[in-house]
Amino acid sequence: MTSTLLLVLAVFAACTVEAVEALTIVLAAGVTRGWRSTIEGAAAALLVLAALVAAFGPALIRYVPISVLRLVVGGLLLSLGLQWLRKALLRASGLKAKHDEDAIYRREVARLSGLPRPAGGRDATGFVISFKGVFLEGMEVVLIVLSLGLSSGRLGYAVAAAAAAVVVVTAVGLMVARQLAEVPENAMKLGVGLMLVSFGTFWSGEGAGIRWPLADGAILGLIATYAVVAFVAVRFLQRGRVVAPPSPEPA
């Protein structure tokens, strides 16, 4: 029960972070290139991502032994989680510039406004920009959904959590009619990184043959241990740092 809740939280938070980033690109494309092609591009990307999960999820469950699956996807989770955690810790300690959605939005609007537009009908640029933005941000979510869902045997929960995050971010984005710069993205990224590294450690360990004390309860112990390490790391890294200005670089 606890591990299911943690899994849902991890997927929801990871998908929220990526959806906020995708929304920034979609809004910039919609404002500058028109909404029809932009929405079509975003919808097409979501369909492709859903098809990837539908194609690979059940096939992997059916044809790959669970211990191999846990070892491989656990390793993938561990590697992805360490990347997220490293970036979030460097940002939290001021050694790396924080992700600035406002700056990204302004840059994209300026870039897309300068491109020629067709006289009428569909706008290929708007479609492609929107498709790429949603697809590239969504691929990371697909990997997280597949790896967390498959290794725990709860793919349905992982898919539902990801879909819920997309719906929530889209609804809030439409309501406020702008990019969601106020979302505490780095804090969420740090939390997701901690959970991905913990799940990755747990599942790759199980796949390698480790029998964890407390079974699934060990995940909580791993999260707590890595959280303490993260706290100490930020304190250590903050010593003698130079605070970096916000950056429009992709996450």
Partner: protein, 68 residues
């Protein structure tokens, strides 16, 4: 776009996605999984060495990030 260019772009996408600017994390993950396999065949108390190896890997990567 030729098939070769498409394959190169596909490979570049996955390289950036999985390895990017932190090759030490991708390579280090393989090393710690080998450590996990060794631990699994040793005494049960050694289980703590696995998360400890992950912490060492993260610390080494953060140290590199701090300098670079």
């Amino acid at each position: 776009m030729t098939v070769a260019a498409a394959l190169r772009a596909f490979g570049r996408f996955w390289w950036d996605f999985l390895i990017g600017d932190t090759p030490e994390l991708a390579g280090g993950t393989l090393v710690v999984i080998v450590i996990a396999w060794a631990i699994a065949h040793g005494p049960g108390a050694l289980v703590v060495c696995f998360p400890a190896a992950v912490v060492v890997l993260l610390a080494a990567s953060l140290w590199r990030g701090r300098r670079g």
